[in-house]
């Protein structure tokens, strides 16, 4: 009976979490048109406590996306429960340039003449949603500071560690074409991003819609949809507890990555961390699709986005998605067969 009760409670929690997702999605979708796939993946990353790397052309709506996401989130914490007494901005944008310094990102201690002491000025990274624009244009030093913050959810300045908020979500972008004077991110650093999304130009009708409605969207500030920070964190917990990932799915995941590692077209396979990171993302996607279990569809949808930037292809091969499909076939078939076997 305890099981049943637990199931029932988590089901209602799951419904609430789904409702939060829907609200967030509609808030962003009101601002960004024709990018539903990216919005959903960004939401998944946000919910799964991951980060997103966008490869896109300038002016394709990255900032709008990040801003809409950040502005939809409001700080609904009780003042006394706050971890820091500094109010956290919902959205910050950092433009990465070659002459940027780590302190420009994290913040630095400044001397206050009135109190005759140093005190820490929080950098732009202290926000719920951070847009790290053109992350490959800055020096590796800044990049690693940024990535540490992403991985550890904390910033260390002058041996003093400052925690970031639990709801911390980075959307980094890089230009895929203009590579002169850039510091490309090495694969281990790319590993910290949950998704790398390659966006294509929006479709003709969506683009037309963007032109038709840009004034309304610019002026429409009054009836904004808002989602509380606590709500999002609760939703995270609800999804984590309420969406079931079967051993069969996990087996398929491991089998696929093992197959990829021995494929001769691939120089270096994906890390174990990537498999750990994908699990919450799968749960979120399942919840989004109205299920309380992860199925093979979810796996098929997310795997390309999660793995593309984590593997190094051997010289001569270029189409990772095809290689992935080839290697997925046997484990996915095994997974499909598992549902008919008598013993689970």
């Amino acid at each position: 009976m305890q099981v049943m009760e637990a199931q029932a409670t988590s089901n209602t929690d799951l419904d609430q979490a789904r409702e939060v997702l829907v609200r967030l999605g509609s808030a962003v979708r009101a601002q960004v048109l024709g990018r539903d796939d990216v919005i959903e993946l960004a939401l998944i990353a946000l919910m799964a406590d991951g980060h997103v790397l966008l490869e896109d052309f300038p002016g394709s709506g990255k900032t709008t996306l990040a801003k809409a996401l950040g502005e939809a989130i409001v700080d609904d914490q009780q003042v006394n429960t706050r971890t820091s007494n500094v109010p956290i901005a919902p959205f910050r944008r950092i433009q990465f340039t070659p002459d940027l310094l780590p302190s420009d990102v994290t913040g630095s201690s400044v001397f206050d003449a009135s109190t005759n002491s140093f005190h820490f000025r929080h950098g732009p990274i202290f926000a719920h949603v951070v847009l790290a624009d053109e992350i490959n244009r800055t020096s590796p030093k800044v990049q690693s500071a940024m990535l540490e913050a992403m991985g550890e959810k904390q910033v260390t300045v002058d041996n003093q560690t400052y925690a970031l908020d639990q709801l911390f979500f980075v959307i980094a972008t890089q230009n895929p074409l203009d590579l002169v004077g850039t510091y490309p991110l090495p694969t281990p650093q790319l590993d910290r991003f949950l998704f790398k999304l390659t966006m294509n130009h929006v479709e003709r009708d969506a683009e037309l819609e963007v032109l038709n409605t840009w004034q309304q969207r610019r002026d429409k500030q009054s009836k904004k949809i808002e989602v509380g920070r606590t709500e999002i964190l609760q939703a995270r917990h609800a999804i984590d507890a309420g969406v079931f990932i079967s051993d069969a799915i996990k087996t398929a995941l491991v089998d696929i990555s093992r197959a990829l590692r021995v494929d001769e077209r691939i120089l270096q396979g994906n890390s174990t961390r990537s498999l750990v990171l994908i699990l919450p993302a799968l749960q979120v996607l399942a919840a989004m699709r109205g299920r309380n279990y992860v199925n093979a569809d979810d796996l098929e949808t997310l795997l390309p986005h999660v793995l593309t930037h984590r593997v190094e292809l051997a010289p001569g091969s270029s189409d990772f998605v095809k290689i992935l499909r080839d290697n997925m076939r046997a484990p996915m078939d095994h997974l499909a067969r598992s549902t008919l076997s008598q013993r689970a």
């Binding site: 079931f244 996607l285 199925n295 093979a296 949808t301 008919l340």
Partner: protein, 742 residues
Amino acid sequence: MSIAMNTSSTSISSTHLSDNRSGRPVHRLIRALILAVACWVLSTPLTTVGGSGAAALGCLLACFWIDGQQRSHTLLQLRAPALILLAGLLVAFSAYVSTLLTNSTWLAGSIGALPLYQSAQFVFWFTLAAAITITLRHTARRHAWGALPELLFVASAFVITLAAHQRGMIDRPYFIGDYALIRGLDPTSILMAIGVGAVLALAVLLMMENQNRHLPYHVGILTVLCFSLLFYVQFFGLPSPQLTNDLGLTGQQGSGGGADPDNPFRDGENNASDREAPVAIVLFRDDYEPSNGAYYFRESAYSEFNGRLLWTAENPDLDPDLVSQFPSSPIDVSGEVPAQDKRRSVTTTIGLLTPHRSPFGLDAPVRFETAPNPNSLRFRQTYTVTSLVPEFEFPDLIGRKAGSPDWTLEQWAEYVQMPDDPRYGEFARQLTATLRPEFADDPYAKAMAVKAWLDENGIYSLKNEHAYATDPAASFLFGDLTGYCVHFAYAATYLYRSLGIPARVGVGYSVPSSNRAGGSALLIQAVNGHAWPEIYLEDMGWVIVDPAPRQTLVDMSVEPQDSLQQLLGDMLRDDAAFQAFLQDRAGNAVINWALLTRALMILTLSLLALCWLIKIYRLRCAAWAAENEQYRLVYRAALDTLAAHGERRRFGETREAFARRISPQLPAFKIISDWHLAAAPGYAFDASLAMAGAGSQQRISGHSKQQWSAQFIELQTQLQQSKAWWQKTLAVVHPLSWIKSR
């Protein structure tokens, strides 16, 4: 919500081959071998051993060469007419070269005539086979229908080989028949094995064209079907030889068209193509050699004049010596045959290869009884006949009175009735006028005079120009005197009757005694079908007086079928003896082929039955399973049904994707699939946790048994509506459809 994959355009099933040559090396090798065998088979009867070997070699090399070329090769860019022209020129050139070779005297002088001829054949056949192969492969690779000529080519090779076997020539083709008989096998099984092999070869060719991945599976199915064919033959027998010209002996409607069962003159086209067909085999239990050089087998006789011509007597008083029914119990008519002291009893056993209207026997048959049929596949009917064969000397026949003193006036009248045509009488008297005075009144002498005149003046021909005259016999006799046995028999019978001699037309078979070739078996072939006149002499019975025209326009001789005669004779003689003969020939073979074949057949059949049982069980078992097993069993039944209709989850395709793919036509399956996945333990929820709790039942069976079965019925209804009739039929019949469901 759906997240479109960026790369959804990349098809999962795009497994195209990396190179654009034709198929994998193994496939190429198999195809080349099949084509080479076909070339060899086709060329064997046309050339020397070396020539046919060259044909196979040329085909093989050409196959390898052209299949190894890239598609961009110049030859493969040519259009079909250009290529055919090129191939034709090549063949013409090689024919010219080989003619030059054979005709050159100094070459013949230096290396000998025979090697020269051999090498000329080699050159010609090598080039011919290579040209044909290149043309075939070229077409196959350039066009979608291109595999068709290739298939026809291979099929024709097998058909031509096996064509010799038709019409009951079961010892042909000789090279197979001899091989089989020496080793003690039934040639039929070898031929069937060849046929099965041909079917498989063709199927492999066909499937390779589609680069089908499930080749072993399809070959397996075809093998099972072929075995079923063998099984069918074992049970229902082989087709009997088809005859078109049988004088109405077999009671079959001739297939040549235009045959009139009531008129022996209108017996259809005299198609001589099937005249070699074996009709029956006769086994002599007593030695007997006829003095007149031919065995006469009487089946029936035409003795009653029906106003138009002579026909089978309906008057029961006539012809009591004839037996029209096959014996179920012994039939004895020996009382009807006189002069038994001048006759000898000869017993024969007759096996009919084609069905007959009445039993026949050596003249004069007196006792019919059934005989055990040793091979019901081969023999339609077997019976034993005791005949009282005449051993009359000339003095026995001369000076006898015509007719029997026991006959009533009506019988007398019937036996001399004839068309109301005075020309017969005048002509007969004219013919018998030259008899010496001592024989002037002798019936036998008169009959012989008529026969001698017909022998001298008649012309034997298969052309039947009298068939539609009112009286064909008169048209023949007073016309061009050109006709075949029926004309002679009727004309002679009318002439005899006009002289007051009781006469009738006997029908049956007449086989030259030389055909027996010293053995005890005699083969009756379609060409032996015969009609002859016979007269009744007092105390002698019916005596055959058969005109044999000296002039003939057709060659009615056929090759003696000694080996076939012996083979059939051995078959009929005694099954056990034949088996012993086979055993003897086979020696102490390690493998008992007959037993093995039978065992294989039973195995195949029981496998088929088992497959069907499994199929039905998998479809129906959900009905009596527990509620918490429904999710699995109903889903599996649905998968089986879909697989039977050709809808099948691809390898690597998820259950969800499969359901989505077919949901436009079959929305019910999407629902079943969703229910199934949501209820699958270890997939949708933690099985151990659910089992631990008391609510496991409620958790697993989210839907009741009725809901499951209703959904399954809904799926079947949708299938009924969306599939073609042949798909539905195949779905029901296919024994192995469930193997394909995954």
